[in-house]
C-alpha cells in the first residue's frame, strides 16, 4: 500500500513538473505526461518507477473515462447547428480526408485490417485539448477562423463516439463476420438507448444524481459516469463511449454547468495519469520498427490537414492566413489517438500500434503548436486561386 502510494505520488509529481517545464517553452501538457512515463518506465535505462504498468490500469481508466465524460457534459447541439451547413461540409471534408488517408496508410503498413481501422482513427481525429489551448495562447479566439476550428473539433468529438461504436467488432475480437455484425449491432443499440435516455430520460437521471451541495453532486455523478462506463465495457462497447454518453445525458439536465465545473479537476488529475501510464508501456527500443510508418503518417497528416484547411477556408470565404491557421491548429494529435491505441492494446491488436501512436502523437503534439505560431510564413505557399477570400481589412 505504502509503496503504491509512493509510486502514484512520484508519477503525478514527475508528470506535473515535466509539463510545467515544458509550458515555459509553450509545449502542451499531453506529450510531456507521456514522456514522463517513458523516462521512468521499465524499458528505459535509469530508475524504474513501476515494473508492471498494468498496475496503474484502473486509475488510468479513470482518466480515459473522465476525459470523455467531460466531453459529453460540455456538448451542446447548438455548437453543431450554429455553424450551419458550411461547418458540416468543412468538418466532413476534414474527416474524410484524414480518416481516408489514415485507412489507406493503415492497409499499406500491412499490420492487418483491424489495425488499419485503428490507424485511421489515430490519424483522423484532432486533439481538442491541444487545439483549444493553442487558440487561447496564440490570442486567436477573436480570429475569423476560430469558430470554424472549434466547430470542426466538436464534430470530430462526436464522430469519435460514433467511430468507437463502429469499432466494436474490431475491438471485440470478433471471429467471424456474423459475430462482428452482432457486436456492432449491440454497440449501436447501446448508443441509441443512451441517446434516448439523453433525449427523454434526463429529468429522471437528474432526480437520481441531483444534490444541493457540490460534495454530494460529485459523489453521485462520479458513480453515474463509472456505472455507465462499466456497463458499456461489459457489453463490449468500450468504457470510453459509455463515459461519453453518460456525459451527454448529464448535458441534458439542469446540472450540466455545475457538473462541468466539478469534473474538471478530476479529469485533469486522472487524465495526466492515463497519459503517464501510456508512456510507461512504451519501449523506446520498439520505436525503430515503426519509425518509417510514423514519419509517413506525420507528413501525411500535415499535408491532409492543410488540404482540408484550404477547402474549409474556401467553403467559408476565409483568407489564406485563416487557411494556414486552420491547417496547423487542427493537425495537433493527442488524447483521442492515445485512447484509441489503449483500447486497441486492450483488445490484443498488433503491438506496433502503441509505439507508432507514441511517436506520431509526441511529434504532432509538439510541432503543430509551433507551426501554428509561425503559420504566416506558410501563407505564400497557398495559391490565391485556391483561397480567393480576403480578410476583412484590419488597419494595424
Amino acid at each position: 500500500m505504502g509503496r503504491e502510494l509512493i509510486v502514484l505520488g512520484i508519477a503525478f509529481l514527475l508528470s506535473g513538473l515535466l509539463a510545467r517545464l515544458g509550458a515555459r517553452f509553450g509545449l502542451p501538457t499531453i506529450p510531456l505526461f507521456v514522456a514522463a512515463g517513458i523516462i521512468v518506465g521499465p524499458n528505459t535505462p535509469g530508475p524504474v518507477l513501476l515494473e508492471h504498468p498494468e498496475d496503474l490500469e484502473l486509475l488510468a481508466a479513470f482518466g480515459l473515462i473522465f476525459l470523455l465524460f467531460y466531453l459529453g457534459v460540455e456538448f451542446s447541439v447548438e455548437d453543431l447547428t450554429s455553424g450551419g451547413t458550411k461547418l458540416l461540409w468543412s468538418a466532413a471534408l476534414y474527416l474524410s480526408l484524414n480518416m481516408g488517408g489514415g485507412l489507406a496508410m493503415g492497409f499499406a503498413f500491412g499490420w492487418g485490417t483491424r489495425e488499419a481501422f485503428i490507424v485511421a482513427g489515430i490519424t483522423g481525429i484532432s486533439s481538442s485539448a491541444i487545439v483549444t489551448k493553442v487558440l487561447v495562447e496564440l490570442h486567436r479566439l477573436a480570429n475569423p477562423e476560430t469558430r470554424l476550428i472549434l466547430g470542426i473539433i466538436v464534430i470530430e468529438d462526436l464522430f469519435l463516439a460514433l467511430y468507437l461504436a463502429a469499432l466494436a467488432p474490431v475491438l471485440g475480437e470478433a471471429d467471424s463476420a456474423a459475430e462482428g455484425a452482432l457486436l456492432f449491432l449491440r454497440a449501436l443499440l447501446f448508443l441509441l438507448l443512451l441517446a434516448a435516455v439523453a433525449r427523454w430520460g434526463a429529468p429522471i437521471v437528474e432526480k437520481v444524481i441531483t444534490a444541493k451541495s457540490d460534495e454530494l453532486l460529485v459523489v453521485l455523478f462520479v458513480g453515474f459516469a463509472l456505472l455507465v462506463a462499466g456497463l458499456a465495457y461489459e457489453l463490449g462497447v468500450s468504457d470510453a463511449i459509455g463515459a461519453f454518453m453518460a456525459g451527454l445525458v448529464i448535458a441534458g439536465t439542469t446540472l450540466a454547468s455545475r457538473v462541468e465545473r466539478l469534473v474538471r479537476p478530476l479529469r485533469d488529475a486522472f487524465a495526466a495519469l492515463f497519459f503517464f501510464a501510456f508512456g510507461l508501456s512504451i519501449d523506446p527500443g520498439d520505436i525503430a520498427t515503426v519509425l518509417g510508418p510514423a514519419v509517413v503518417a506525420i507528413l501525411a497528416t500535415l499535408v491532409l490537414a492543410s488540404a482540408a484547411a484550404v477547402g474549409a477556408a474556401r467553403i467559408n470565404h476565409l483568407d489564406r492566413q485563416a487557411a494556414a491557421n486552420i491547417a496547423f491548429s487542427v493537425a495537433a494529435r493527442g488524447e483521442f489517438a492515445l485512447i484509441l491505441v489503449t483500447l486497441a492494446a486492450g483488445a490484443g491488436l498488433d503491438e506496433r500500434l502503441a509505439p507508432f501512436a507514441a511517436v506520431y502523437v509526441l511529434v504532432l503534439a509538439v510541432i503543430s503548436p509551433i507551426l501554428a505560431l509561425r503559420s504566416s510564413a506558410f501563407v505564400r505557399f497557398i495559391p490565391t486561386r485556391w483561397v480567393p477570400g480576403t480578410a476583412i481589412p484590419e488597419p494595424v
Binding site: E74, S128, T132, H139, L141, T146, L150, S257, P395
Partner: protein, 161 residues
C-alpha cells in the same frame, strides 16, 4: 456599416472556451469580447488584444451595465458583492405550474435557492416587498441566486418539483 447599428448583439458559444460577443466601435470597426470559462476577459480591437483578470472583468461589467450605484469602495468589494452571486431573470412560460401562485405559496427561496427581487409585468417593474405577490404567465422574474441558479428556478416554475 456604422450608419445603421446592428440589433443588440448576442453572445455566442465558443465550444470548450467560453463565450464571444461581437461588437462594433463608433467607427464601425469590430470589437470582439471573449469571456473564457475561467472568467478571464479578452478584448480584441484593431489587431490588439487586452486581457482582464476575472475580478477586473467583473468590475468592468458592473460599471458598463450602469446598474450599480458606484459607491466608494465598490471596486474593492466587487468580488465579495458579485463574485458568488448571479443576477438573472426568467420569463414565466405559458402553462407554467407556478402561474397564479404567490411568492410565499411557492416557497421559492427554500425550494430553489433563488430570491425574486422584482417582477417586470409589461413595462411595470414591481419590486417584490410583499411575498403574497402572485406571479402570472409572461411575468419576468428578476432574481438573485448562487451561480447557476437559473435552471432550478425554471424547472420549478414550469413543473413544480
Amino acid at each position: 456599416m456604422s450608419a445603421d447599428l446592428p440589433t443588440p448583439p448576442e453572445p455566442h458559444r465558443l465550444p470548450g472556451v467560453g463565450q464571444r460577443l461581437d461588437l462594433v466601435d463608433d467607427d464601425g470597426r469590430p470589437v470582439s469580447v471573449i469571456r473564457r470559462k475561467d472568467g478571464t476577459l479578452e478584448l480584441h480591437h484593431e489587431g490588439r488584444a487586452t486581457f482582464l483578470e476575472p475580478s477586473q472583468a467583473r468590475a468592468l461589467g458592473a460599471l458598463a451595465s450602469g446598474h450599480f450605484r458606484m459607491a466608494p469602495g465598490l471596486f474593492q468589494r466587487i468580488d465579495g458583492v458579485l463574485g458568488g452571486i448571479d443576477f438573472d431573470w426568467v420569463t414565466v412560460p405559458e402553462g407554467a405550474w407556478a402561474a397564479g401562485l404567490s411568492i410565499a405559496d411557492l416557497a421559492l427561496r427554500q425550494r430553489t435557492g433563488t430570491t425574486v427581487v422584482a417582477i417586470l409585468r409589461g413595462s411595470i417593474p414591481i419590486v417584490v416587498t410583499d411575498p403574497s405577490q402572485r406571479i402570472e404567465v409572461g411575468d419576468e422574474l428578476v432574481f438573485v441566486s448562487q451561480p447557476d441558479g437559473r435552471p432550478a428556478l425554471e424547472h420549478y416554475l414550469a413543473r413544480g418539483s
